[in-house]
């Protein structure tokens, strides 16, 4: 059952990215271009996502329907990894306009650029193994 849920969640996630045009790097760069011609749409995507998600996470804590327990990150401290990582991610996101979700969803277009981006991203994930605090 968890397999069906995984596939279905992925599909719905991809549909959401399509409705909101977030698979389009140009649209995302429009949001990041705050000091030029600004497209505030991404704020509304985040708001929609959070308003939908927050109540369920807040009230539904006992046990998932098809798994034994919830897997929630337990780290509480703010460390240099969090700040350094977020900074590097921000630079990459600003350079291209793609973050992991839209990048993977955009593979559907069989576009050369999105394939190269996802391949680089996977190499990046692999390289991060060698990062030490």
């Amino acid at each position: 059952m968890t397999k069906i849920i995984s596939l279905l969640s992925g599909i719905i996630f991809g549909i959401g990215l399509s409705i909101s045009s977030m698979v389009n790097p140009e649209k995302v760069l429009g949001f990041l271009n705050l000091f030029g011609y600004w497209d505030p749409s991404l704020v509304f995507v985040m708001a929609g996502g959070i308003l939908m998600t927050a109540p369920f996470i807040f009230f539904f804590k006992k046990k998932p329907l098809f798994a034994d327990n919830f897997v929630i990150p337990q780290i509480k401290i703010v460390d240099t990894k969090l700040i350094v990582g977020s900074t590097l991610f921000g630079i990459g996101w600003g350079l291209v306009g793609l973050c992991p979700g839209p990048a993977i969803a955009s593979l559907v277009f069989l576009n050369f650029y999105s394939i190269v981006f996802v391949a680089s991203m996977m190499i990046g994930i692999f390289v991060s193994k060698f990062y030490r605090n």
Partner: protein, 140 residues
Amino acid sequence: MNIINFTPLSAFIGGTVIGLAVVLFYMGNGRLAGISGILKNFIYSNDKKFDNLLFLVGLILGPLFYSFFSKSEIPFSITINIPTLIIGGLLVGVGTSISNGCTSGHGICGISRFSPRSILATIVFVVIAIITVTIVGRFF
């Protein structure tokens, strides 16, 4: 500041649908749908490997379903040189991996569960990305 191409309704509806996917994955499988985390786990971990693969496959199929039912093309436009594209991809991979989250993991899931770490991470990557776009736009 000049506002252009603003599509609040489709953005909000799309965001709500993304939230629906997060809720389904959370209530059903007990996991948070952070895409960088799912990809990282798929690469490194043998635990729930097929679940992670199916999620990623679904993510790629999602736009097809949308196109089919809405009978509309999804705009996809990217203008960038290849070296910058590769550097950007590497930075997104390294960055999301060492900070344990991206726009979905920290941005939507993290903020939804009021995690101070995720709220801070989201502020950092959004501000840095805005600075990056501003610098690139001015000087290149």
